[in-house]
């Protein structure tokens, strides 16, 4: 589903095909391409409380982006045979079976007798009295469609030594396939295991583009467009975040106390995620790191210790040689 967007439908210039040499030159001479017009920040709100695990998003993504199929292998981990995101898997639906050994009985319903009475007198209450079924049954099969988080401070982008990873005019994180040289640094930088090098295909790093090609034309991404239950919602990040908070309120009011948002506020990676989630359990249950450190923050302390060691050893060596 797409939440209404204020994207301008102006013709957006395409990125030029940069040949290596020109790009080296342009590093020094400066970028001569006119900046693209600012657009509202776009992203995803993946609401797992609506996911039915149909995997249509996975297939739609493969289809639109013409990604290779994974080798079929049966895993025995519930209905998930995809296992993880990767170079040719940009959407991945997880299945978590959280079912207790004994069938749990639902809470008793009050006021039932009174209803019968009321009915026989011809008075039907506007809302049924005791219909207090929980919003989800106590036995849970959690499903979540995972995707690139399009982090506001994207470690992959911060790490990339070639500038292949850019932030688009929609504030999404995009890997320019013609620039990436497959150094693999983004792969270890991403705290969510999203981006990966396509060693059997392009040999470059690949991940969800947030369907940049479609966005430029004002078309909703393939996965959210396909999602039958609107578990994946696409739209302006600010609006989506407001909606996510509302949704959380609604669920909690429905008694779904386990519900929580992930990546909506600014704590994760010091800026939040442009593609965020509503979860029905702890993030760890979904293999999501609760509060992953931001790798670029390590540069300073690591350098400090390195320099300190160097100084110590330098002093030693000077002392030893001097004597």
């Amino acid at each position: 589903m797409a939440v209404e967007s204020s994207q301008q439908q102006t013709a957006i210039p395409h990125y030029p095909q940069w040949e290596p040499l020109r790009s080296v030159v342009s590093t020094f001479v400066g970028n001569k391409v006119a900046p693209l017009p600012e657009q509202p920040k776009m992203g995803f709100f993946t609401d797992t409380s609506l996911c039915i695990g149909c995997k249509a998003c996975e297939v739609a993504c493969k289809q639109w982006n013409q990604l290779q199929a994974k080798n079929p292998s049966w895993t025995g981990t519930s209905y998930d045979n995809t296992e993880s995101l990767g170079a040719i898997t940009w959407r991945h639906v997880q299945f978590i079976e959280d079912i207790g050994p004994a069938a749990m009985l639902p809470p008793p319903l009050p006021l039932f007798g009174k209803l019968a009475e009321a009915k026989s007198e011809g008075l039907i209450p506007e809302t049924p009295p005791g219909t207090a079924l929980p919003f989800f049954n106590t036995e849970r099969w959690l499903m979540r469609s995972d995707v690139c988080k399009h982090c506001a401070n994207a470690p992959c982008q911060e790490a990339c030594p070639t500038g292949a990873i850019i932030r688009t005019e929609f504030d999404t994180v995009y890997v320019q396939q013609d620039i990436c040289n497959g150094c693999g640094y983004c792969v270890v930088a991403c705290p969510f295991g999203v981006i990966a090098r396509d060693d059997d295909g392009t040999h470059t790093a690949r991940k969800c583009t947030l369907c940049y090609d479609r966005m430029k034309e004002g078309i909703e991404p393939a996965c959210s467009k396909t999602c039958p239950t609107d578990s994946i919602q696409y739209g302006e990040v600010d609006k989506l975040k407001a909606h996510a908070r509302e949704r959380l309120g609604f669920l909690q009011q429905q008694g779904v106390q386990e519900a929580r948002l992930y990546g909506v506020d600014d704590t994760i990676l010091e800026g939040g995620l442009n593609s965020f989630f509503l979860l029905l359990d702890e993030p760890e249950v979904y293999n999501l790191p609760a509060d992953p450190p931001r790798p670029s923050n390590h540069v300073a302390p690591a350098s400090f210790w390195a320099v300190l060691t160097a100084i110590v050893l330098g002093i030693f060596s000077i002392l030893f040689f001097k004597e």
């Binding site: 993880s84 978590i96 040689f321």
Partner: protein, 359 residues
């Protein structure tokens, strides 16, 4: 020949250590000691994860990077030691300078091919130079390597010119007249960078083993020094150098090894549970290799040996020196090897990754 034989108690304890190091229990204990984390398997199994599928992608880096780190460290270390010897050393120490600069360039030669080979798209190596990104150690590292290559090359060429290898024509004379020390001073800066940025590079990732503690840069810097020291003295011992100079190197070696050990333990302490991938004995953990080849053969034995030498008179001690040198070089290689490999293990371990991000 007597001097090469190890003293009895040392030999005995080494044997015990050898025996011990083959037993997982002992490795577990050492790991606990080093990391300060007592594994509680039951508790760990309680922690939620998603079928233990990795949270992170495995690094794409394998042997090329290990060798690149190794050679890069040597290139930088040799350069720096050579420069220190040139600036502060005696006349005799010139041998160090000369050997150092040559070795530096020699060690540098395999680096670019290794780095390029490691890329998914080697033909796009130059794309590394599209941008200059302070936040990205790899970007900085590439620039550092380029800069250092320049310095290393120029310095070595000057050295060659001065050594008369380039002949006596005017160009060679011009080169020989260049202010090598001044250039080397600047080159040392980039050498320092090259020797330690690799550790910083690993630290600035999401892999728990590499990034939890912030001390890897220091460890790599110390290891660059110790291995370079070992390499230079190895060559000098073989080509013949004054015992005094060699003794200076021995002392530097000892200091570097000491710092490296302190650094390594600080690193492991700081890593805690994340360090197990490197030092533990569990499946996929690299403890056995680490304790045997990095800690045992690569650090403690040479450290013990150089400690012994430290208190002796400056003598040649060729065999012992050669042994120490070889051990340190092997250790230096395995340090990088196990850290890269254990990084793979670490990236696969969902529980550690999740714990790491929470604590």
């Amino acid at each position: 020949m007597q001097e090469t034989r190890l003293p009895e108690p040392v030999a005995a304890s080494l044997a015990a250590v050898r025996r011990g190091l083959t037993s997982p229990d002992v490795i577990e204990q050492l790991a606990t000691l080093a990391t300060g984390y007592t594994p509680d398997r039951a508790q760990e199994m309680e922690e939620p994860t998603y079928y233990d599928y990795p949270v992170l992608q495995a690094p794409t880096w394998t042997w090329e990077i290990v060798w690149y780190f190794f050679f890069g460290g040597l290139a930088a270390g040799c350069y720096i030691i050579a420069t220190v010897a040139a600036l502060f050393g005696s006349r005799e120490d010139r041998a160090v300078t000369r050997t150092g600069y040559y070795l530096s360039l020699l060690m540098l030669l395999p680096c670019p091919p290794l780095l390029i080979k490691d890329l998914g798209k080697p033909e796009r190596f130059l794309h590394m130079l599209r941008v200059f990104k302070v936040k990205s150690p790899m970007s900085m590292g590439t620039w550092g390597l380029v800069t250092f290559s320049l310095f290393s090359g120029v310095t070595a060429v000057i050295q060659a010119a001065r050594d008369g290898i380039l002949g006596k024509w005017w160009g060679a004379r011009l080169l020989a007249a260049l202010p090598q020390r001044l250039i080397a001073l600047a080159g040392t800066g980039s050498g320092l960078f090259l020797g330690s940025y690799t550790g910083v590079l690993l630290t600035a990732t999401s892999v728990p083993l590499w990034s939890r503690s912030k001390h890897l840069g220091g460890v790599f810097a110390a290891s660059a020094t110790s291995t370079s020291c070992a390499l230079i003295s190895l060559v000098l011992r073989l080509t013949g150098a004054p015992a005094k100079t060699l003794h200076k190197l021995e002392r530097l070696e000892w200091a570097a090894l000491t710092v490296e050990m302190v650094g390594l333990f600080t690193f492991l302490r700081g890593s805690g549970r994340a360090g197990l991938a490197l030092v533990g004995a569990g499946p996929g953990e690299h403890g056995p290799t680490f304790w045997r080849f990095v800690f045992g053969a690569g650090l403690s034995i040479p450290w013990l040996l150089s400690t012994l030498s430290l208190f002796g008179k400056p003598k040649k001690r060729t065999m012992r020196g050669l042994l120490v040198g070889l051990l340190v070089l092997t250790g230096g290689y395995f340090l990088r090897h196990t850290i890269i490999e254990a990084g793979h293990t670490s990236s696969r371990d969902a529980r550690v990754t999740l714990w790491h991000s929470k604590h």
